[in-house]
Symmetry: C2
Subunit: 314 residues, 2 copies
């Protein structure tokens, strides 16, 4: 089945120890839609300004993404500028210009409303709620959020959390939302807020999936040439949700495989600026990297008969 992705489309300026790029295609909806597009049909809901280059829209179209929900508004496109430090784990926001994103008000067509899989990227929780209200009857809804909403719009966020299946956030956000530094305690508190499942993203350490009685950990694929970590979390969520929509099953084993595909997409995404690498992948590359994750995590002789080779391509 297809998936509906709602979030931001941005023009990012990124500085890392390995270079700098200005006004490149970015935003949560962009990264997650492109990642999901390798697995299923994607429709995107976002807002852009009059300055948004046509080549970006046509690039998204070439990835098979339905951009009918990409609303062009008077004014400039959302812009974000940030810098990563040497270890790539910490970043500083240098500038944020909301522009047309400040008045983003997602309106869904009847085709969008009928979608069965929905990913609510990191936007105002009131807007996330408004999208949920417009949907007919989705099978599975995942949602991201961030520190400013946790701090400033906590009640709206809690209202949204009661209606979703899966929350996908990072370590720091989980600790802030749960007001608790222990990851397992934090997970239990967050699951009690409503979501059926929780993914905590941990950057270069991978991610954990928590269910009421299940835990699944996926490592990050160690990558030597990390050029730009921007969008790694959204690529992860896009890969996970794209896979889930593709198999149209949300059972434990599908969620776990989706987590691995998410980690696969994130591992490719960080090796070049913006969506350069993410946007040019082949499914053969994705499947090969997925198999590397098998090799990297296996320790019982479950498949002794297949004679698993542990040697990796890295």
């Amino acid at each position: 089945m297809g998936i509906l992705v709602v979030g931001s489309v941005a023009l990012d300026s990124v500085i890392t120890p390995f270079g700098a790029k200005d006004d490149i295609l970015g935003g949560s909806a962009t990264y997650s839609s492109i990642a999901a597009s390798y697995f299923t049909d994607v429709s995107m809901i976002a807002v852009i300004g009059e300055d948004f280059p046509e080549k970006h829209t046509s690039f998204l179209g070439k990835k098979g993404i339905d951009t009918a929900g990409l609303q062009k508004k008077k004014g400039k496109t959302f812009r974000w500028k940030g810098r990563y430090e040497q270890d790539m784990n910490s970043r500083t926001t240098l500038d944020t210009q909301l522009n047309v994103f400040a008045d983003f008000d997602p309106k869904l067509s009847s085709a969008h409303r009928a979608q069965k899989y929905l990913f609510l990227g990191n936007i105002d929780p009131d807007l996330q709620y408004s999208v949920l209200d417009q949907m007919d009857r989705p099978n599975f809804v995942a949602c991201d959020t961030m520190n400013i909403w946790i701090e400033n719009k906590r009640d709206a966020l809690l209202k949204t959390l009661k209606r979703i299946d899966l929350l996908v956030i990072n370590d720091e956000e989980a600790r802030m939302l749960a007001d608790c530094s222990n990851v397992l305690q934090a997970a239990k508190r967050i699951l009690a807020m409503g979501p059926k499942k929780l993914v905590i993203k941990r950057g270069e350490y991978g991610a954990i999936l928590f269910g009421p009685r299940t835990i699944f950990t996926v490592p990050a694929f160690p990558v030597e040439n990390v050029s730009d970590p921007t969008g790694a979390g959204d690529s992860f969520a896009g890969g996970l949700m794209g896979y889930i929509a593709n198999v149209a099953k949300e059972d434990e084993i599908s969620m776990r495989k989706g987590m691995v595909y998410g980690a696969v997409m994130a591992s490719f995404n960080v090796t070049d600026f913006g969506v350069h690498r993410l946007g040019e992948l082949t499914f053969t590359e994705i499947e090969a990297r997925y198999r590397e994750f098998c090799k990297m995590t296996l320790f019982e002789d479950f498949n002794k008969k297949d004679g698993m080779q542990f040697d990796l391509v890295y």
Copy 2:
């Protein structure tokens, strides 16, 4: 086969957000020997002072550990005092009194020299080298180290690294030793220094095993009641080396299972102060936790026929 463990025995004073304990049994050799003792026969080489309580020696004896190599010297036992902050990831050393440890000069008996498995805990690399020189012909040697040796005794450390099979260090030490912030690049540089394999411990994020062409990741078991992280890394190394000595094989699959047993031992160790929890485990508990690691990491239907249940006990 049995294992020889060389390292420190200490009396630790530990302050955490959950309490404080004074002069409790600690030290790298203590934690790793106790962890290894669940898997194989352990002989310990370390130095203690006249003030070392007899009950500690007899406790080690009750764990089946050969303490003939525990040399009692004139003076006081090595003492360390530290404090953990709220998130348990950062600690501050408040006081270090080397005492008899300052003149530690490990002398091996002929029985010790004949051992086939050796773990060199975190001591001066010159002492580690001296132990290696005394050994007859070990099958497999693992070694730990720390920031002060990497900074102040780099040449001695590099000499030792050329003669070992496995280096077991943490993230920060790996980055310092390799002078490189990317973990995969750091691993490649360290493997080029001599060790055949490298384990990088990452605290609550687990650990990675690097071989020339293999990578294996093990998560940490998420634990709600972390009381005292002291000795987690040594418990990990002890579990890993104890398992390897037990099976007397160092092939890839044995190393991987050993990594999981290491993570099992560390996950129990952190739930109480000092060696309280680590020292009272049963093999049934260890095996049960090992199976939890299987559940927590599996994503392919390798054992479909067994109908893996993902539900965890946590």
